[in-house]
Symmetry: C2
Subunit: 383 residues, 2 copies
Amino acid sequence: MSHFSVLTSCSQSRARLGRLVTRSFTIDTPQFMPVGTCGAVKAMAPHELEALGVTMILANTYHLFLRPGHLLVRQMGGLHRFMGWNRGILTDSGGFQIFSLSDFAKISDEGVDFASHLDGTRFRFRPEDAVEVQEALGSDVMMVLDHLIPSTSKPDELKIAVDRTLNWAQRCKDAWTDRSADLWGIVQGGLSADLRIVCAKALTEIDFPGYAIGGLAVGESTQDLYAMTDVSVAALPSDRPRYLMGVGLPENLVECVARGVDLFDCVIPTRNARNGMLFTRSGKFIIKQARYRDDPRPPDPECECFLCRTFSRAYLRHLYMSGEILAARLATIHNLHFFMRLMSDIRDAIAQDRYDAFRKAFHVRYSGSVAEDGCGSEYGLEA
Amino acid sequence: MSHFSVLTSCSQSRARLGRLVTRSFTIDTPQFMPVGTCGAVKAMAPHELEALGVTMILANTYHLFLRPGHLLVRQMGGLHRFMGWNRGILTDSGGFQIFSLSDFAKISDEGVDFASHLDGTRFRFRPEDAVEVQEALGSDVMMVLDHLIPSTSKPDELKIAVDRTLNWAQRCKDAWTDRSADLWGIVQGGLSADLRIVCAKALTEIDFPGYAIGGLAVGESTQDLYAMTDVSVAALPSDRPRYLMGVGLPENLVECVARGVDLFDCVIPTRNARNGMLFTRSGKFIIKQARYRDDPRPPDPECECFLCRTFSRAYLRHLYMSGEILAARLATIHNLHFFMRLMSDIRDAIAQDRYDAFRKAFHVRYSGSVAEDGCGSEYGLEA
């Protein structure tokens, strides 16, 4: 199992500096995990991720289960060896994709019946299968199978989903055989603070080495995202890592770190890169805008990434307009550099107990506005 | 202007070892130029090309003229700076693409009227424009505008095209202002040996620092390709570099080096890579074949490229089947490594005057057959 330790805590928020020692690699937290859906972070080679300081990636169990198949990955020596990545790998349980991607999903207490979005093949996926598949992949941190429903569902439906999530969490824990890898529980409960607290407390009773906050970043308001993160974190044990699934935008990372989150994953830096959107400290930069046609400046003049050290806005725009693969590569390098640098700056600020000032300064530059009390009051949250 | 010197000649064929010193970089010949159509070799970053030993690339004047425009490239400091490539750049004249890609092309003695394949915009492109555009791009080796017609055209049509090609060659030379860059002539004449000889001799009279052989690799038989290469080379001065445009397959390179060609370009290694075809010394390797699904071996066990040192056939196939950009990148690295290594082996063999044996051994392994006299007699050519 992994070992997690909190090194420093912020004196003005729940932000904390930590270290997660997994069997494959040590991850400094707060940390962001790029997403390698199909066993590759899109457009990137493993050594490039290492050079950017990536210490852990997220891989999707659903996708790898369907193609190339978890047994093939195991036969090839596990996902680390298969994809040439020696650092940390966290896998989701597959539940989210089953509900969002598959052509058909029918849930029962036993598990989920679904049809592959690739070829329609039907599968039954039980909590025990989620663990077996993730163990075959050789994930360092596995997730329990959870029951996801829209966060706006009725209270009794949310209650059923939470009960099932807790039942499945116990079944996953019972099915977990290789304790050198981690298995983490997932807090569900939609936008109900009460249910989230119930779920978090019950998961803590089952006892996992880490906990995720799930069911968010699926269309709810930013206010709800932060509020549910707050209540979930508060109900989880402080000595275990907290992972906010599927989040998010740079401003979400900064705010959720202040709410006590240690780990994040999101497709935003890589997907937006392929769509021509670069992140900078002053906000978003859209490559295809005509005003960059003859702009000789680096895309982000204060950035030190390979793109910004080497090429002009005019060239990047030209590559993007021409549909060149290199545009996707360069923009992905830039955005991942931005996210990794942001997390590194966040850790430095916490280490020096100046996270409040960092957060304030970040928002002023990034969105041109400042939280008046410097601690996110504009989001209706505690100072 | 460039300086070309022949260092060693093969005692059994026209193969020769040379060195082309351009204003940007020194190119050891025989050499292969990867194609960077739109100012990027598809899927590759410049430092990766350097690491593979690429010393010169070909860029397409037609594409860069239309997008982003030669004046923009000049404003950005020229193509070398624009694309972050400090080594050699050879540009074609645009003629080939005007005839093959544009929606409309009408030729007169004055030049070509054509419509952009991107948006239908009409342009008139004269020989003088071809030089002006290439000078704006900052190409190290420019090509004259030539008149391309199907190699199977009637003799009188071919004759008209050759006469026009010669007239335009002279006009291009007259328009050539920056003599630190090269301008090379192009031998046309379809599949008529007589016309090719006439064209080569007349171009030699005009006097260019180098000569290309054009109008081949457009669907004619391999026998015709080799025969026309033979007659063209024989009619060109031996102290100038000879460039066979658009060629080609590994077996074509080996055979045409024996016929005295110094320089090649082709999209085959990069395009085929993106389509999942890898070159190996034993022939072609098709990634998507089901038999590689669980094959843990490197794609090419005797290859030293990044792909073959790092990943399995199973992983590459998985990336390819999943449509991952990384598949295109890895396969492109492999194929360019194969082509650059082939050219390096070719140069070594010529330097040691064992090109005949090299050529024989290459064919035996690559296609499983051997030229009986070891000098391409199976192609009906001289020993």
